[in-house]
């Protein structure tokens, strides 16, 4: 294949209830396509949504055998913010209202999910590159400005578990 690069509309963002996975360190494609994993990609505003891995905390102490200046990373520091559009019809069944129901209330734990490389409406499959971050919801933040659409921002609180960039196994 030629040296082609990946462009937009190749991102999937979802939320999974922790019960979705028998082992969050090795989720299967079947689990990722299950009812406890909810795809809300089309509700999320790309300007207000981030799914990044910040610099790790580090331990700069070294043993007698290590080179001076060696640094050991300790904690991963994921940064996950989902910003969802709001719907004009708040009682309709649509992705914006689904996202609202998942993001509007605090203290609900999920795995936030990012897949890069396929359209959001393509089912998860073996070989997909996926990242999982266990996170809990905070109070929601309304984002609104004159001439803009209303959005709901959820700044997730890290809950420790990170499975970054793994390849989905059978």
């Amino acid at each position: 294949m030629a040296d082609t690069r990946l462009y937009r509309e190749n991102v999937t963002l979802a939320l999974a209830f922790p019960e979705a996975f028998a082992n969050w360190e090795a989720p299967t494609a079947a689990e990722l396509n299950g009812a406890l994993v909810i795809n809300i990609t089309c509700a999320l505003n790309e300007d207000g949504t981030t799914f990044d891995l910040g610099d790790s905390d580090t331990d700069d102490t070294i043993t007698f055998c290590q080179a001076a200046g060696s640094v050991s990373p300790t904690f991963y520091n994921p940064e996950v913010v989902y910003e969802a559009e709001r719907s004009t019809l708040p009682t309709a069944t649509n992705q914006a209202n689904t996202a609202f129901g998942l993001l509007a209330f605090p203290d609900v734990e999920y795995f936030a999910i990012l897949r890069v490389g396929k359209d959001s409406d393509v089912a998860f499959a073996v070989g997909d590159r996926v990242s999982l971050v266990r996170a809990a919801t905070d109070l929601p933040v309304d984002v609104a400005g004159n001439g803009e659409n209303v959005r709901l921002q959820q700044n997730f609180l890290n809950k420790g578990d990170v499975n970054w960039g793994f390849e989905v196994a059978a």
Binding site: R86, T88, D121, V150
Partner: protein
């Protein structure tokens, strides 16, 4: 491949309702009634009309975070700390004070004095203009606030405004549900006969609105079935074992239950 959105985005302009209420306006500030909300003076429509988009910066913000992990926590674990809300709201000065026919005058009378205590109510809930009265089932924020500093915008060609900084006073109900004449009904739906080892999600509505993640879920028999804050049931018991799952709308204490029997 582009996907057509299955919804229309909600515009902010014209579809945010703000209202101010004095202490004691609500019998239960966590879930006010529509009658209480519609009795405000100035009305929500008048109050909203008095607010300029310029310098508007009021609402709920991200909470403080607490970094206090236990020995058992693996990795970076952060907990939710104190809520953060409040901020600036800029109001138009009335052309004439003490004019009860003037929304700006009524608003000034209500909140123009510094250190006024009360509740700010915000409604962002679909295509509901501020002229639409509150109704049972509306989602609203109820935020207890105290007015503090005022900044005057009294130069140039724009209408004169005074921008009030609202301080938080601790009591807040975020995306709570407006009551009708009585406590809003809580309704739980989902399978009552799950298979052994099943994991599935129950749903809850409050006053007919989706509220699954907003209620508090509990189980009568954790050895038979657990239930998470998102309403996910994990069946642990054997065939014929039973448990009662309860959803509670904490604002009113209203509940609904679902008896489940493992198939």
């Amino acid at each position: 491949m582009s996907v057509t959105l299955d919804y229309v985005k909600l515009p902010a302009s014209g579809y945010i309702t703000a209202a101010f209420y004095t202490p004691g306006s609500f019998s239960n500030w966590k879930s006010p009634t529509a009658t209480e909300l519609n009795a405000a003076a100035p009305t929500a429509a008048q109050f909203s009309k008095s607010i300029s988009w310029n310098d508007f910066g009021f609402g709920v913000q991200a909470s403080n975070t607490i970094d206090d992990p236990s020995l058992a926590d693996i990795g970076n674990v952060t907990d939710r700390g104190a809520a953060q809300y409040g901020g600036a709201v800029s109001y138009y000065y009335p052309n004439a004070f003490d004019d009860n026919s003037n929304a700006y005058s009524l608003t000034y009378d209500a909140i123009g004095t510094p250190r006024t205590l009360g509740y700010m109510v915000l409604r962002i809930d679909g295509l509901k203009p501020s002229t639409q009265v509150f109704a049972e089932g509306d989602y609203i924020h109820v935020l207890q606030v105290l007015s503090d500093g005022q900044t005057n915008s009294i130069t140039g060609e724009e209408a004169f405004r005074y921008t009030v900084n609202w301080l938080q006073k601790g009591n807040l109900a975020v995306y709570t549900v407006v009551q009708g004449g009585s406590d809003p009904a809580v309704v739980v739906t989902g399978s009552a006969t799950p298979a052994a080892a099943a994991k599935y999600r129950l749903r809850a509505t409050v006053a007919g609105r989706e509220y699954t993640n907003g209620v508090v879920w509990t189980t009568s028999a954790p050895a038979v079935a657990t239930v998470s804050s998102g309403g996910v049931v994990t069946v642990l018991g054997a065939s014929a074992a039973t448990a009662t799952i309860t959803a509670t709308f904490e604002a009113t204490g209203g509940t609904d239950t679902l008896d489940i029997t493992v198939a």
